[in-house]
């Protein structure tokens, strides 16, 4: 169980958090943004956000989860801004470059980061959180601030796209079917 503090954690505890969480946050960030320098900026920003709330934190264990949430939400906002930096995305995922071998020119290693970069941001996020960070549907939904149904539908779409992009070279998990929709015709985003 995470230790609970009756008062604000100290700066020394923040330093411990940074050193403990930094490597895993950095790896997650690399998968999310496909750029090492950007990933480093992203983790720094997420941890700075965490520190800005430090005086209100009573559970050091929860701070790590807060930092991960800050990482994902910051990455999402970066995606949105970057989408307007001349990178006008299209309505649909472009057809995969079928001439491009995801294993690269040597044919031995799959360039997964290049493949992930072709996914829409939210699909990329659910793939990374669920299959790299090993979060449950519920945990992923909580982190992204969406419903579990959205996570399931985004996961299903992401795996479908990965199947097209990766071919038979990777064993993909079976997506969890989304719950039946209970809406009465309203738009589902």
């Amino acid at each position: 169980m995470a230790p609970r503090a009756s008062r604000s954690p100290t700066d020394e505890q923040f330093a411990e958090l940074v050193h403990a969480a930094w490597p895993s946050l950095y790896r997650t960030a690399v998968l999310l943004v496909h750029d090492h320098a950007l990933a480093e900026d992203l983790v720094q920003t997420a941890l700075a956000r965490t520190y800005s709330r430090w005086s209100g934190i009573r559970d050091v264990g929860a701070a790590r989860a807060y930092a991960r949430r800050a990482l994902v939400t910051t990455a999402t906002s970066w995606f949105r801004r970057r989408s307007f930096r001349g990178e006008r995305p299209t309505a649909e995922l472009p057809e995969p470059d079928t001439d491009h071998d995801p294993r690269g020119p040597t044919g031995d290693r799959i360039d997964l980061m290049a493949v992930l970069a072709q996914l829409p941001p939210r699909q990329r996020a659910v793939v990374v959180l669920r299959y790299y960070d090993d979060l449950s549907v519920e945990e992923t939904a909580d982190l992204l601030g969406v419903s579990t149904g959205t996570v399931k539908s985004q996961t299903s779409a992401a795996l479908g796209n990965l199947r097209r992009l990766l071919g038979d070279g990777v064993e993909l998990p079976e997506p969890t079917p989304p719950h039946p929709s209970l809406t009465t015709g309203g738009h589902r985003g």
Binding site: F79, F84, R88, T90
Partner: protein
């Protein structure tokens, strides 16, 4: 044997060299963020609404033909509200000034014109993805071809434009959204590597009065007088062009620099610097919203394009746009609050209906909704 996705993800990054964290710098950035958040909260709570004036005066000062003048001359309250309040959407709900309309499916892109918002809906039925939503809330489907992948609006005219990419050339189409008729089609050379017939869309047109701008693959711009067909090549890569002023982005491979340039000559008016996430140019070209990344997240400021003191906009980190009357409109980060600010940084807040977990974001004008 096929490799499991989880294993592949781990193999991709688990052996990466990890840079050393600069804990004191992170803590300092966190302290700065905390201070700024307090200041921003106080500012937002204390400011008084700055209404009308700015927007009306800006638009009234323009002189670009009957459509634009009619917008001002009628003094239609709906038009005035559109100029002052801006236009945005949440899911299927589209707001234009104080009018609103529901569109299904939800629009993915909103282009502002002087007479209302041109919406684009992916997957719409009937083959008409574009509609004009006027400030009184009326919706008129437009006959703009469905293969126009993205249109750019002119906030000072009743027009939109788009590029039809061909091989080594393209056609710029200009469409009058009030009469729903094409005004001009102009052929332009598009030297460079892309798009060569692609519809995946790496370029967009900027429409500014009689001129349309389209970037080439050589980081230059074609400035096209769509009324005469005259084409001039300019030495900059345009992001936005309003009233003869352009913002330009130049990526030298290591970082991206932004400048304000004279759209007619390419002369640099102002260097905005680097580490900039995005910029949005006001409809009169006099101000620009700049969102800078400082290692501690992002800060948005309004700055005169001719140079002057930046004014910080609390709560914005980029998802904002300008109303046609010259106010910045956007969703306060992570909230269901819409904030409108004038160029002096005076802001007013309003609750946003319809925000929920399925539609957590406001779609501002000129952004394309992802996913």
């Amino acid at each position: 044997m096929a490799e499991r996705l989880a294993d592949l993800l781990h193999r991709t990054v688990d052996d990466l060299p990890i840079p050393h964290p600069d804990t004191p710098a992170i803590a300092a950035a966190g302290r700065a963020r905390r201070t700024r958040r307090r200041v921003g909260t106080i500012t937002a709570a204390a400011v008084v609404v700055a209404v009308a004036g700015v927007g009306t005066a800006v638009v009234a000062g323009l002189d670009d033909g009957p459509t634009r003048n009619s917008h001002v001359a009628t003094q239609d309250p709906a038009d005035e509200a559109y100029a002052a309040l801006g236009a945005w959407a949440v899911g299927e709900h589209v707001v234009v000034g104080d009018g609103s309309a529901d569109l299904s499916p939800a629009p993915h892109h909103l282009a502002q014109t002087s007479v209302g918002l041109v919406t684009q809906q992916f997957g719409s039925t009937g083959g008409k993805p574009f509609s004009l939503v006027r400030p009184d809330g009326t919706v008129t489907p437009l006959a703009i071809p469905a293969d126009a992948w993205s249109v750019a609006g002119d906030p000072r005219g009743a027009r939109v434009a788009w590029l039809e990419p061909l091989v080594k050339e393209g056609r710029i189409h200009v469409w009058d959204v009030a009469s729903d008729k094409e005004l001009a089609t102009v052929r332009v050379d598009l030297p460079g590597e892309l798009p060569e017939g692609s519809t995946s869309g790496v370029r967009e047109v900027q429409l500014d009065g009689d001129f349309a701008y389209v970037g080439t693959g050589r980081r230059t711009a074609q400035r096209v007088d769509w009324r005469t067909g005259d084409v001039k090549e300019l030495p900059f890569s345009p992001v936005a062009v309003h009233d003869g002023v352009a913002t330009s982005m130049n990526d030298d491979g290591s970082s991206t620099g932004w400048t304000v340039v004279d759209a007619a000559t390419g002369d640099v008016i102002r260097d905005l610097g680097r580490r900039i996430s995005t910029t949005t140019l006001s409809p009169d070209g006099d101000h620009v919203v700049v969102v800078r990344s400082d290692g501690d997240g992002s800060v948005a400021t309004i700055e005169p394009t001719a140079g002057g003191t930046p004014v910080e906009l609390p709560g914005f980190t980029g998802m904002s746009s300008w109303s046609v009357g010259g106010r910045v409109v956007g969703q306060v980060d992570g909230t269901s609050t819409l904030r409108r600010c004038d160029v002096d940084g005076r802001c007013e807040d309003a609750p946003i209906p319809w925000i929920d977990e399925e539609n957590p974001l406001v779609l501002p004008a000129d952004y394309l909704m992802l996913g």
